[in-house]
Structure formats: C-alpha cells, structure tokens
C-alpha cells in the first residue's frame, strides 16, 4: 500500500488559458441543415467583418456542434473572448436569411458548461425510478 500523500493546498487565480461558450444559432425561418464546418465558417466571417483579417486572426475551436438544435460549444483563448463574443452578437444573417446567435453560457471551466442549473425543469413531476441510457 502506498504512503498517504502529504497535504498540499494551492489557489490558482485566472489560471485557465481558455474560456468556453455554449451558443445557439436561431434562424428566422426555423432550422435547416448546417454542417459544423459551415457553422464555424459563419463565425470566422463574422469576426473578419468586425475586426478585419489581422484582428480576426486568432484561433478558436468548435468543440462540438449539434446540427439538430444548431447548438455549439466554442473554446477560445482568454485574450480572444471579448472579440469573439462581440462578433457573435453582431452576426445577422446566414446565406441571406436573418439569424441571431444566442450565447447560453460562458465560463473559464468547460466542466461548468455541463452543470447549468438554469436548465432544471420541474414543471412536470418526474417519474420515480431511474432513466438508463446505455450506449
């Protein structure tokens, strides 16, 4: 058996290099088929429109995209958060159709995006017992 570890306590302030955003594309005429690459290209073009080629030249990741609900999770360096968020806010159209990007959640911790208590719905009494989703 290994020896118990010695006590250690560290406090990190602003130590995360990234911010994570959960966003949703809302189209005027309802949903349509959009691929992940097209969604990312929409955001890149929004950045270029607002900040130009040089200003928009910072990387961000589309960690996940759900084509059914048009929701995505982005990862961006802290220094690019304000620029990315402002560009998302001003995206107004996709292929000549009016649209808007809703920012649902922003956090320096990706883990926090998986536990948003504002999604808790208690309007119907939940069935007793468990739901098993084994895939």
């Amino acid at each position: 058996m290994e020896e118990p570890a010695a006590f250690e306590r560290l406090v990190y302030k602003n130590a995360s290099n990234f911010h994570y955003m959960k966003i949703c594309l809302v189209l005027e005429n309802g949903s349509r088929n959009i691929e992940a690459a097209q969604f990312k290209q929409l955001i890149v073009s929004g950045l270029r429109q607002l900040y130009g080629e040089v200003g928009a030249a910072f990387p961000f990741d589309l960690l996940k995209f759900d084509p059914g609900t048009l929701t995505g999770i982005l990862r961006v360096y802290n220094s690019g958060l304000v620029k990315l968020w402002s560009a998302l806010t001003l995206i107004g159209s996709y292929q000549n159709e009016l649209c808007a990007v809703r920012v649902t959640q922003v956090s320096p911790f990706l883990l926090a995006l998986s536990g948003n208590s504002r999604e808790l719905e208690l309007d119907q009494a939940s069935p007793t017992g468990e739901k098993l989703l084994l895939t």
């Binding site: 306590r9 994570y20 320096p108 911790f109 998986s114 948003n116 208590s117 989703l133």
Partner: protein, 361 residues
Amino acid sequence: MSPELEKCSRSLLVCEKSNFTKEKSRYDIHVSKHYFNYKVSIVIPECASLPASIAGVINSFNSYYRVRDLPIYKLLEEEFLEKVVKKGQFYALSYNTRIDEDNTIAFLPSGQLILSVDKDTYEQLGLEGKPSQYKHRKVLRYVVTIDLTDKLMSPGAKRYQRLITSLKEWVPIKCDLMISSKMTAEEDGGVLQNLLSQYSFEEHRPTLHTHTLKEMPCPSLHSTDRHGDEKSCDPHHFLEWLGAVSMDISSDNEASSFLSTYVCPDPQSLMSHGLLCTVTGFLIPEDIYSLLLELRRYFDEPKFTSWLSMTVHGFVDSPVSWGTTEHGFLKSGENFYNFVCFRNQDYWLHMATGSHDGCPP
C-alpha cells in the same frame, strides 16, 4: 488593438491534496458547507456498468418538493420554525429565480434565512442587511441574512415580530421554492407535510442517467504528484477533460483540424471503456457525502483503474456558495467541486468559483 479587449473576469480554482484517513483533512466540512447542489457527475474509468452499491446509495437520495407561490412568512411561523427550520436538516431555495435579476430566498440548514433582493424590495422590507459585495458603481442588490437560531429572533421577540410583519404585510414575498428536509414525518410531527398540503406542490426524485464511454484516451493521474511534477496532467487540463467527457466532446483531433484541435491532456493512457453517471435535482450535502463514502469503498476490491472522479455542481442562482460566502452571477455562476479518489484513499479536491464569488474554503 486596445488591451481592454483582451481582459477577462476573475476565476479561482483551489486544489487540495490529502488523504481521507487523515484526521485533519477537512473534505467532510467542504462537502457539508456546499448546501445547494444541482448535479453530481461520476466518471469511473475501466468500469462497464454502475455498481449496485453505488446505485443503491443514489436510490436512497432524499426526495425534494417544488412548492408553488408559498408565502415566505409561513416558514417562519413558530411551530414550523421550532420543529423543522431550527433542527439543522432543512434546505430551501427559490426556484427559477435569477440571482442577478430577481429576488432570491434561501434557508440554510444552519438556521439562517438569506434574502438577496433588489434595492426597491430592500427599502420596502425595512430589514437590516448589507449591500452586495459584487456591485459596479451603484448598489442595486442587498443581502439580508437572518439568524433564526438567535435568541433575539425567538418567537415573541421584537425583531421576530418585525420580520414577520415585513414579510406578511409590507412586502408579502411569495415564490416557488425547492424544499428538502432530512426529517421524517414522525420526527417533525407532520408539520412539513401539513404546510405543503395547503399549497400546490409536487414531490420529485433525483434523476439518474448512466452512459458507457467507449474506447477513448484518458489522463494518467498519480496521487503522489506534487505541484510541478509531470507524472500527472495539471488540474485545469484534467477538469477540461472531465467537461469534454460529460458533454461527449471528441478528444482525438489533429492539430491541423479546421473544427477543433482539442486533445486529451498528457500524460494519457487508453481507456477501453468507462462509466459516466449523473444525478440531477435538488441534492443535499448529506446524500452527497454518503455517495462519496461509497465511492471510496469502490477500491475495497482490486480494480483496473487507480482513480475515479466525482464532480458536484452548485446552483448558479444560489445566494451562497460555501457556508454563507456570498455568491453572484456575472458572466457565469459556476461554483462546483471535484473529488478525484485514489486507490490508497488519497484524494484531490478541486473547488472552482467565478468572478462574483469569494475564494473557496
């Protein structure tokens, strides 16, 4: 480009490393002081299905109630106060209220009532409170903290009468509440059930989901690592990986990929399968502590993995994070903690808060 555009709001992550069997370790206090919990996520590498013992503990979690339009003063009436609120096992939090916009009410098991209210409500209430610590230029939010166990707040006392008058006549605050009490009907004399039956309410059970993780890279962790060692990945990368697992985010991308360059942090190993289990609801610390004890027992028999992880997310709209430390919501209201439990009963505890929060304990 203006440097102002590159600034971000503050976040804090406290990382504690110790052993469960050490007398001085305070993990139990950290769990018990985090009163309002929304979700528990468990990740166990090399585990195909939820062990029966852990499922049993989750099935014994307390039920909770959602009561509609309950006048707050009803929870302060003498009988309810003496038989339920002051007994140390009563939790209540306003449902569907946003801490940055709405009036929020919370009852702590320590017998304290927290009212986080806007300026107008505070002035009409006429109760003694403090401006919120998280203000910009003007004070728009006030926090009233009332210790109901104080002698000066005992039924019949002047300050108690004033509190009742404020909440009953001056500003009759009514809201939907989530309520959980560890006491049975026999222990509290049926007082809680009696109160609930006067209003519209539903009983809820915590919701359990399980998901099997297929072959995927997984961080290697060693409990003997100290800060600066490279045998394990650093806390931020590990928490990022946990977030990726929880949300089914791919972690084997190429560096040249257009969509995402996210990869599992190094050092890593290949996990043939794993278990992701989440429990959601209005969860109380006592239940989470029981679950943690059961997870520690997972290693009583030999297992392929040397570690497992439990993450607990707090309510983003709770007026407190740990204890009575004020909690707010700027861009996000995260207040979560994560245990990594090792085979030899060592643990790592990561506690994270956002910008409108005090430092975790």
